[in-house]
């Protein structure tokens, strides 16, 4: 059964900071959802091959030739912060 620790752990992996209320609420709601999902175990899938995509396809390749791509200016147009043609972020290492 999923508990508050699982919710905290998963939220941390997903880089989400949850409030105490969110943790309580999600734990209760997600427990109910996983309870429902338990239904899947009623089906025997021992020898079943999993399906990732419903339309069968093999690796999709194209010729290895350089094509036009998005230019730098357009790529940076939505950046919250940029400098000298690059994305700028706050410091990565703490002091």
């Amino acid at each position: 059964m999923i508990d508050k620790k699982d919710v905290e752990y998963s939220a941390d992996l997903a880089h989400l900071k949850l409030s105490e209320e969110e943790k309580e609420l999600y734990t209760e709601q997600i427990a109910k959802i996983f309870d429902y999902v338990e239904k899947l175990n009623e089906l025997d899938t021992e020898d079943v091959v999993p399906t990732a995509y419903t339309v069968p396809m093999k690796n999709v390749m194209r010729e290895d030739k350089v094509e036009e791509s998005l230019d730098r200016e357009k790529s940076l147009a939505n950046a919250p912060d940029k400098k000298e043609g690059q994305f700028r972020v706050p410091k990565i290492m703490s002091e």
Binding site: E22, Q29, T45, P50, T51
Partner: protein
Amino acid sequence: MNLYDLTIHELKDKLNKGETTVAEIRKAFADRIAAVEDKVKSYLTLTDDLAAKNAAKYEEKKDELLAGIPIAIKDNISTEAIKTSCASKVLENYKPPFNSTVVDKLDAAGALIIGKTNMDEFAMGSSTENSAFFNTNNPWNLNHAPGGSSGGSAAAVAAGECAAALGSDTGGSIRQPASYCGVVGLKLTYGMVSRYGLVAFASSLDQIGPITKDVEDCAIMTNVITGYDEKDSTSVADKAEDYRKYLKEDVSGMKIGIPEEYFNLDFDQEVKDSVLAAVKELEKAGAEVETVHITDAAYALAAYYIIGPAEASSNLARYDGVRYGLRSEEADDVRSMFFNTRSEGFGDEVKRRIVIGTYALSSGYYDAYYLKAQKVRTLIKDDFDRIFNDFDLIVTPTAPTTAIELGTKSDPLEMYYTDIFTVPINIAGVPAMSIPCGFDSNNMPIGLQLIGPHFGEGKIIQAAYTLEKILDLKDKRAEL
């Protein structure tokens, strides 16, 4: 009828006969939006500039399928330099540097793209109440939800705020709102429509599709948006057809399956009666109707609530405040920027699904949940394939009820249940359409779902066209 009530093909007829002009059409829809948008609230952004561009080129494009026709686009479909927010604070001011393939196709077909429609945040929801900005109201009764997640698109079509719209469907997000709003919605076979530029929710399930006032318009829109695209590696080659050739009143000899397990579920009796009455009409018109047996839809729903969130948790990892979208102002270092951006930017349902998906994919649980769900997916797909060996189509209701009242469903599981009939279709990757089949005692529209085999869009369109002629509901409009 007013111009804004007309379908694509009716507007085209009038244009071709010289009975109206593109300028008149633009004005009719702009006036209609001005008159009813306060009540319905379908749009997040209006895009007059985009519409003007093709309006000016009408003479050179007039032979194209959508020349001069006002079309609305769900806000998770990228439009170059036009806000594409996915109804999320994370992308509130995001203007894509490129067009999605479907928008390029609409543009080439001469469509006037008039706006971007409201939706559940990142398409996660079934009522459009998860929009970070505002609710959309159902044109048939403003106190009711339009359904979701493509609620803005369905409401805009039903309210005459556009001639037709695009939505996206991951677990019913085109068909369920089409059902709630009394319009036609088609989810195509997975791979038929390029997903390039569709902001990803669950990549193995997402498909873009049309929401229209009638079946003929659905065929026209399908013609425009289908086709192989090298920019989407899951796109399918050589399957698109001219779907207008299926606009025939003929279901004689068509074999239609009625899944007993679906009709045995506990759902609204008026919906059940209306759908079964429509099936009787198809039978009278020459279709052979038989009961079929299929894996209980509850398993598909259970698989969906692992597969959807798992893929979403991975797809939504990109919203980190680095390259585009929101960046939290509370950021001492890069790690706190990630956490604060995501926590401030995502709404409740999105966070919940990210947590579910992350948990289901986390070490030690992958086999029990994600792999198990992918195996069940095989069983469900095989089951549909088995039925389609002997049957042309399957008929079910689109949704277990008519449109729910706004603000009445707060429990996620209860809300998820509104997708019980639509989710199995995405899990199996087959096409399905919702078309109006009647009204309940509160004058709210009821939708019938026609399901076909992989690449069976043509059969669906033919049966839907026949049923539409018999039921004669297509000119009924919501009064606003």
